[in-house]
Symmetry: C2
Subunit: 170 residues, 2 copies
């Protein structure tokens, strides 16, 4: 999902984060980042559900433009989300426990699994590591996933990969 948070000076942030359900609780492992800083300040985060591959790439590799957010009781969520949940957050080091406060479902569609979209997500995970470490292993994983996007993806997935390559400087 895409986590949205807000800084102490009111700047909204978006970043892809994985949520785990464990022993009946929801948890996210969040490495030192703007997202974690903001959570520590506000004790709040929103999980935005989206199937838009471009949003995943943008949120992972850039600062999301402020016009992509809207505010729900003063808290930022994504305009293009199919739904969101705002959480109260508790943390211990980089493990954040998520306690649902409020949620909204905007779009309830039946979505078949899309290997092209999934490959963009995987490529994005590797891209976030590649931009920091510049290791070839990550780049070849991006290339492999791009091959799947070419075969299985639609126009949105191909657009997302084009953006990804631009943002990693390739």
């Amino acid at each position: 999902v895409i986590f949205t948070t807000i800084s102490s000076d009111g700047i909204p942030n978006a970043a892809p984060i994985g949520i785990h359900l464990e022993e009946g609780g929801l948890f996210a492992r969040i490495y030192p980042s703007k997202t974690l800083e903001n959570i520590k300040i506000n004790k709040m985060a929103a999980a935005n559900i989206t199937y838009d591959p471009v949003i995943f790439v943008r949120a992972a590799l850039t600062d999301m433009e402020s016009n992509r957010f809207y505010y729900e009781d003063g808290f930022p969520v994504l305009k293009d989300a199919a739904g969101w949940i705002i959480f109260d957050c508790k943390w211990r080091e980089n493990i954040v426990e998520l306690l649902p406060l409020k949620g909204k479902i905007i779009q309830r569609e039946i979505m078949p699994i899309n290997r092209g979209l999934n490959a963009v997500i995987e490529a994005t995970v590797h891209a976030t590591r590649y931009v920091v470490l510049r290791e070839n292993e990550y780049y070849s994983r991006i290339e492999y996933n791009n091959m799947i996007v070419k075969k299985c993806g639609g126009v949105h997935e191909k657009e997302a990969m084009k953006l990804l390559y631009e943002l990693i400087g390739k």
Copy 2:
């Protein structure tokens, strides 16, 4: 999606197939298989939408048990599907054009992207090649995806990978 078809002697079959939307039409590339044989006989196939990783593994690597199907106007669809569409099929070699006849949405849920589920799908694609070719490249791709399942998957994804390893004899 999972394609369900029926043979000339009335035996239902299930197999994972990818659908492409191109120039306003729906197409599937189906290699010589029971699915393609059945389509050539009946000119019909159903696309079943499911998020159950065990169904993908079973449909890819085994003959699905007959009690997993039910019949809609005499045509088999999956009991556990979140929805299905029955298609009229036209083919040229292994490209099948899909013309929607009838559909049903059973479950309309908001489903966040699940990297664990996606990794099972990728592992399953490689497993179908591995069982035929026994090439190490496919096995190492399965192992890589299993690593993602261990990290990101839930109990269903882990169960699916356990079954996959059994079915490929590892």
